[in-house]
Amino acid sequence: MNRSLLLITIPLLLLGCGKSEETRSAAQEVSYSEEDIVDGGNLIIGITGEPDALNPLTAHSKNSKDIISLIYRRLADLNEDLVSFSPQLAKSWEFSNDSLSITFNLRTDVSWHDGEKFNADDVIFTYNLQINETLTWDGYSSKENVERVVMLDDSTVVFHLREKSPTLLMDAVEGYIVPEHILSGIPIEEIESTDFNRNPIGTGPFKFVEWKSQQSVILEKNKNYYIRGKPHLDGIFFQVVPDRINLWRQLQSGDIDFMEKVPAADFKKLLDSWERGDTRIRPYSFLGQFYEFIGWNRIDPENYARVMEEAGDSEPDMEELLKPHKLFGSQKVRAALTTAIDRKTIADVVTHGLSIPMHGPIPPVLWPYNSTANSVWEYDVEGAKAILSSEGWSDTDGDGILDKDGLKFSFEMVTNAGNEERKQALTIVQQQLKEIGVEMKPRVVEHTLLTGRMFPAREFDAALFGWNVGLKMELTPLFHSSSIFIPFNFISYLSPEFDMLEEAAKRETNRSNAQKHWDEVAKLLSWDLPYTWLYYKLETTAVHSRFKGVKIDKRGSFINMEDWWIPLEERAAHDMLAEN
């Protein structure tokens, strides 16, 4: 790619437009004021896969959502505290006295990218699509508490809710608003295949220009953006480079300006280089939304398959169906296995220290996180052996593997293919469990195949897996008894005590009262151990330091790109070319 840039650069240098790339360290960074901001330049973002769609209602991949976040706007945006909101398409909002409705006052100076005016019709129309099950909008559950949305006038809408909830506002503003004047003419069943999915019209700071299949997506500045003077950049280019190693190389060579999920080892090197002042690529690490865990199957998979088959289309006998797993049905066994696993070593080795060992179900990124609420199972090999011994497990035949009533403590732990970190973690866990006389057979399975076996069929013993959590505190899909047949409760966790505590926590509108309930939930789950939580990952992003005004925090790397700008003296060749 350097050669192609050379072609571009040489004429520009001859014209005196190009600027030399001097190295500037963190210490030498210049501070800028509002007056220094100049518009222009381009940002090239490297992504590993092309988006699946650019329609907020039909897109599912992270790449799609990142691009969509620049093209569309919501009614309000979540602030860094993950509790309060900043106005966007809604300039203000009021709660009713009974907290069962919210009235949004909409901006009247917003236009869609095609010039049409934004108004309350768009909000009502979007809501009606969001709750339509024919579409597969993945924020569906956030609207379940919304009874109806009504329009008072062109710039006022009211969200009526079924019941009080601490997340009323969060649920109401979830999802980007789509244009009624374009989508209303398309039958609902055709929305997922309509041309709009690849030619979006939004109200955001950047307008869609072009999508070259498997190659790139190009956005340009929305000159009529409702926040005057923004955005500063002329354009944002998403370059598809499926291989992360390639992406990293292109970032170093200057072909791209921005990449997320820099591999941990490379990130560490980059951090050192940045601190030494040897690079102009700035590393950012922040609390992300991803954690890794081992899920123990609480039920006997063979029995489950048999009962389900026998039941056919009729309702299965739940007691018979959820017969405990021969090994992991016991809390003491799960506790012993958790105690035998050295989370810190795994986190250090696998993520090069770019993670936090995790002990309970509430991720550190969410407000109810309280590190003291969890029951912490410290790494203790002898302790683990003692627990298993008290449970009657011993090595009677001297083969190094524990047994009990003729049953060997041997099982399979699965993970998905294509994730080197998980494969590595699996190997370490295998070694650590071997020390207490437990035989764990690692098995790496292709992703779709694995989820097919884990989720509907429950055909596994233990699984090393990970969840990407939302910014709303929510554990129902993972552990609530109502989710027992929903894929995410794949370990078949069933606890009336958990159900009660979680429901109370979710109902509570007073923050400190809710915190008490969430602490109880954390304590219960970290004691009961349906999962052995391993570590919470830090996100690793790298951006060329010529971009100023960059804000990256736990909400992600795409939260304020309309504020990004480049000083004239630091413009790169591709900033100049775009202006020609």
């Binding site: 050669r3 039909t58 379940e144 999915n197 690849r198 498997q214 190659q215 370059q239 097919g452 047949f485």
Partner: protein, 325 residues
């Protein structure tokens, strides 16, 4: 000749039908659920069933097969991609040009290189040069395309940083002038064409060498020499020309191999072609795309074989007679 060609074409129809039917059943029976990609913790319980219904995969496989056949035969419609809702034929049509470009350039490069090396090797038959060239050809014949691609990628694109490591064009391609665009294509295609061409060349090289040795040892070459014709004329007009005739037959049959090689090369160099489309579709169980891409692959195999047969029939009239009989 026309009757012979038509007959050959007619034979291909049931082969295509059988091949596609087999592919249909194999991918439907393979484990993995296409609806899994839509699963998120916030989805409603009935959504998975809705998606399956929308994709038509809630029906028994024979019913799905009949519906699919009807749609393909009557409307030539492969349905919409499960991943992005785009029409599968459109996805394939978008991805086909880069693959054709890569395959054609690699074929031309492989053919020229193979012919030159094979012919030179034949001329130096038995010498050290012949042995070296034969070993070299054998090496590139045996080496897996993905391995060679990764080596080139690591060395020329990553370590030396001489050439681009991915894509068919740079991001500002549209803003370049005509020659700039050509150069942009060229530098992006060097490594993929080299990778695929080098693994294709040995097929022709070995064939040309053996064929050339046989021709050069023929009586008519001895006769030509006896008539005092120049060695250059003997080699080019009589030797190489006759040695190249059988190459026609392997030219067509090598098309499918070239196609599958292109899949690997496209994945390695992130080229926006059929290879990446098929790779992603297979991982995501995107049935409509898999079937549309398989159809193109089958057709390319059939066309390859057909061209080989016709080409050989043109070159050797005895084939047509045998065919008629």
């Amino acid at each position: 000749m026309v009757a012979y060609s038509l007959r050959r074409l007619l034979v291909t129809i049931p082969i295509l039908f059988l091949g596609l039917s087999l592919t249909f059943f194999v991918i439907r029976l393979a484990p993995g659920d296409p609806t899994d990609r839509f699963i998120t913790p916030s989805m409603s319980p009935g959504l998975k069933e809705n998606i399956a219904k929308k994709f038509g995969i809630d029906q028994p496989i024979p019913i799905q097969y009949i519906a699919w056949m009807k749609s393909v035969i009557l409307h030539f419609d492969f349905g919409n991609s499960f991943a992005n809702g785009r029409n599968a034929s459109k996805v394939i049509l978008d991805a086909l040009p880069p693959t054709l470009l890569l395959s054609t350039l690699s074929l031309v490069f492989g053919l020229i290189l193979g012919t030159l090396l094979g012919a030179y090797s034949a001329l130096k038959s038995g010498s050290k040069t012949d042995k070296t060239l034969t070993s070299l050809l054998l090496f590139f014949y045996s080496v897996p395309t993905f391995w060679l691609g990764l080596i080139f990628l690591g060395f020329f694109a990553i370590s030396l940083d001489w050439l681009p490591s991915s894509q068919l064009t740079s991001i500002f391609h549209d803003r370049l002038g005509f020659f700039g665009k050509l150069w942009d294509y060229a530098i992006h295609l060097i490594l993929p064409v080299l990778t695929l061409g080098l693994t294709t060349a040995p097929v022709y090289g070995r064939f040309v060498r053996n064929s050339m040795i046989e021709v050069l040892n023929s009586d008519f070459i001895t006769a030509a020499r006896a008539r005092g014709l120049s060695e250059r004329k003997i080699l080019l007009h009589y030797g190489l020309r006759n040695a190249l005739l059988p190459v026609i037959s392997i030219l067509g049959t090598s098309l499918p191999a070239l196609f599958s090689g292109a899949v690997v090369v496209e994945v390695i160099y992130s080229l926006p072609g059929m290879g990446r489309v098929m790779f992603d579709a297979a991982l995501g169980r995107d049935y409509p795309i898999i079937m549309a891409a398989s159809t193109v692959a089958f057709i390319s195999v059939i066309i390859g074989n057909f061209l080989a047969d016709v080409g050989y029939a043109v070159a050797d009239p005895r084939v047509r007679l045998e065919g008629s009989n």
